[in-house]
Symmetry: C2
Subunit: 434 residues, 2 copies
């Protein structure tokens, strides 16, 4: 399938191009910067052109992933050149305006699907990710798109552009803006954040991480969301009124009024108990990891870098609030604690099996003739670090006493040390190694 | 040691009383409600009196844990009756005023230690919890308190009342107030939160949980923090200015100005990469749990209730976003997903060992005489569900063929089904069960 991603050189557009490429699509990306576009296309092994019209005229699916402000003009530019029977998708954070313009300008026979993927380009798969679809008319493409997204385990939400934009004025509009205001207030007050974290409960630290997470996003995108969603103005006004009201309650020392307002806001939110439970869990998970690492100093641990997915295995030498130091043979590896995940014992074993050259040994043992060679081999496989064990010979011949058999097993281990353990288990039960 | 907790019937004061009781202190709590006080004291097996003066006149350590507003008058009330050589501690969320009043009113020979434990009564241990200490003069009690808190693995932060209150005007003052404003705005806009969660990325859901967490707290305490910390007024004013400034940038469509403000606020926060990593991890942990449960439908799982610590083990029958249903024999147990933690296989095994009546079996097997009976028993212990295995007899007698021995092993299992597994492993290696 031929797909054109308009604005596919960066951000979410680039993520989509990459993702569809892996799903065996023929992907063409477009962008404004030729040098960058060509570099990315060659690295990702897909096509690049700066010519939007050329890109869409050969595509069965066109994904518009340019900034919100230029989305209307981009749609108008490409619309006349769309192939009959093709699908036109946008992935903008607002839906009313793009949906309207796509419907107005797309030629007869082109299906329009306004979407809002509720994730950024940091995710690794669509599993569990929310994608909002606001179809006006569902054509032949719609069930195909649904089926594909469902097979990727995305969570689909179908609604109208208006309901989407109203919801987003809260989900994104209010929270983004309030968080940016908090961060900006902290800056104005010249608070030393690193110092303040020392004074802080784990919950405040996670709260601060969430604020940092929001303000670290692309400010152009966030500006667009704030300005392009026509319901956000009312949200700002309401927030301001609310703030002034609550502030006056504090300034007037109106305890009753404040308590009433706070309790009423709490009651309006859904299930507070679940919210407490989930946030407790999030903190517990972060703490448990640190505790586990503290207890593992001097021992072998495995860490996976969250973004590169690279795995490091070594002896944990040192741990501080920011970094973790591993010793792998004579090399010290220093990793940022916040960016690594701790591997389970099972994951370490799997990694070793996949990455460390295996050693093969054979062993011949004399056992009573009623013993079960294949089950003995399977029992050896249960030893940690033994990857495979197979019977290659069972022998009744001359050198073997009456009532006994000689069993030869070949096995592979991740570490030659394990040879001793294998031979131990064989002799425990009375086997005689030849 | 005799400890009096003034205001020990509820909240943090009650948590402290309970905690110190477990540490073998003789604890007396006081409170305003006799009925409630006596009920709690009898349940927790400690003393109650409504008479603060009586309580402190016999105490070596006095902890003031009453609401901020009544802290000054409470200190003045009890101060003349404190024992010579005793320690006076408060646990209020502001430090300037209580510290001043304690120093002014405590008699000669009484040591004063203003503190702020940065946690609520939901925690289970002091491990990793931050406690701020603002001593004016460090007496003989100070090193003892430090040593105790360090042995409990609390994180101690020593500073002055002024620095504490300035930091808290941000850490608590700003974040609490902004979050309450967000929740209150959501209420005013009549947003259906449950519906909005469907539109939301995992990060928004966690954000909403954090907001819910704040507004679900004791509104009287939060009112006190906002009104009693004299630096908070400036924080409110600065937030308001910041909000109005950013809002005007949006209203005036000043993209450049908004981008500059947001980028600059981001730059002021510390290490954004770590913040992203930590918040990603928190979300990953929440998702991983759900994924694991989804994959365990129809299988045995163990769940621990986060607050009651009660353990439930059963077959996972059903899972939905809010609840998890376990079948334990013929009983269906319905648990709130947000309130349970998933046990590891090791934890389930441990629980069974501790809670299920064990079954004991004996087995006699004939093995070649060079086999190692004790190591065979140890090998059997490695089978999951086998709690103990011990050699009780090794026999060379008449009924046993030349070159062979009979070994009798007694073992305990959590489930009689495991008997077959034990006998299997013995016969695999050529043992003959008698």
């Amino acid at each position: 399938m031929h797909v054109a991603v308009i604005g596919g050189t960066r951000g979410l557009g680039n993520w989509i191009a990459n993702f569809l490429k892996k799903k065996e699509c023929q992907v063409t990306i477009t962008g404004r910067n030729n040098l960058m576009g060509e570099a990315i296309a060659s690295k990702m092994k897909l096509s690049y052109t700066s010519d939007n019209v050329k890109a869409v005229s050969q595509a069965e699916v066109v994904v518009v992933a340019v900034p919100i402000e230029v989305t209307p003009q981009t749609i108008k530019e490409i619309a006349p050149h769309l192939q009959e029977g093709s699908l036109l998708v946008d992935v903008t954070s607002v839906k009313e305006v793009p949906a309207e313009i796509m419907l107005e300008h797309a030629p007869e026979g082109v299906e329009v699907l306004p979407t809002h993927p509720m994730f950024g380009p940091r995710i690794r798969s669509l599993e569990g990710q929310v994608i909002v679809l606001t179809p006006h008319i569902k054509g032949k493409w719609y069930p195909k798109v649904l089926k594909f997204l469902e097979s990727e385990q995305a969570r689909i939400l179908e609604t109208t552009p208006e309901i989407h934009d109203r919801m987003m004025s809260i989900v994104q509009g209010l929270t983004h803006f309030a968080y940016i205001c908090i961060a900006s207030t902290i800056e104005r007050m010249e608070v030393d954040i690193k110092e303040s974290r020392k004074f802080s409960s784990p919950i405040y630290n996670l709260m601060l991480d969430m604020i940092a997470r929001i303000v670290a996003q692309n400010p152009y995108l966030y500006y667009s969301i704030q300005t392009q969603n026509r319901y956000i103005h009312e949200v700002h006004e309401t927030f301001l009124e609310t703030f002034n009201h609550l502030k006056s309650l504090i300034d007037d020392e109106n305890q009753e009024g404040f308590v009433k307002a706070m309790s009423s806001a709490a009651k309006h939110l859904d299930d507070l108990e679940s919210a407490l439970g989930r946030s407790d869990k999030a903190i517990t998970a972060l703490n448990a990891e640190v505790t586990h690492l503290k207890e593992s100093i001097g021992q072998e641990v495995g860490l996976r870098h969250m973004y590169s997915q690279k795995i490091h295995i070594g002896v944990l030498e040192e741990l501080n609030p920011d970094f973790v130091m591993l010793k792998d043979r004579n090399k010290i590896i220093r990793l940022k604690l916040s960016n690594v995940e701790v591997l389970t014992a099972e994951e370490i074993r799997q990694w070793k099996t996949d990455n460390i050259p295996l050693k093969t040994f054979d062993v011949s043992v004399i056992f009573p003739e009623n013993s079960k060679p294949d089950l003995i081999a399977r029992n050896i496989e249960k030893i940690e670090g033994v990857v495979q064990a197979k019977v290659i010979d069972v022998y009744h011949g001359q050198q073997i006493p009456e009532g006994w058999i000689s069993i030869t097993i070949t096995y592979q281990v991740v570490d030659s040390e394990l040879r001793r353990e294998v031979e131990n288990i064989l002799t425990i039960f009375g086997g005689k190694i030849r």
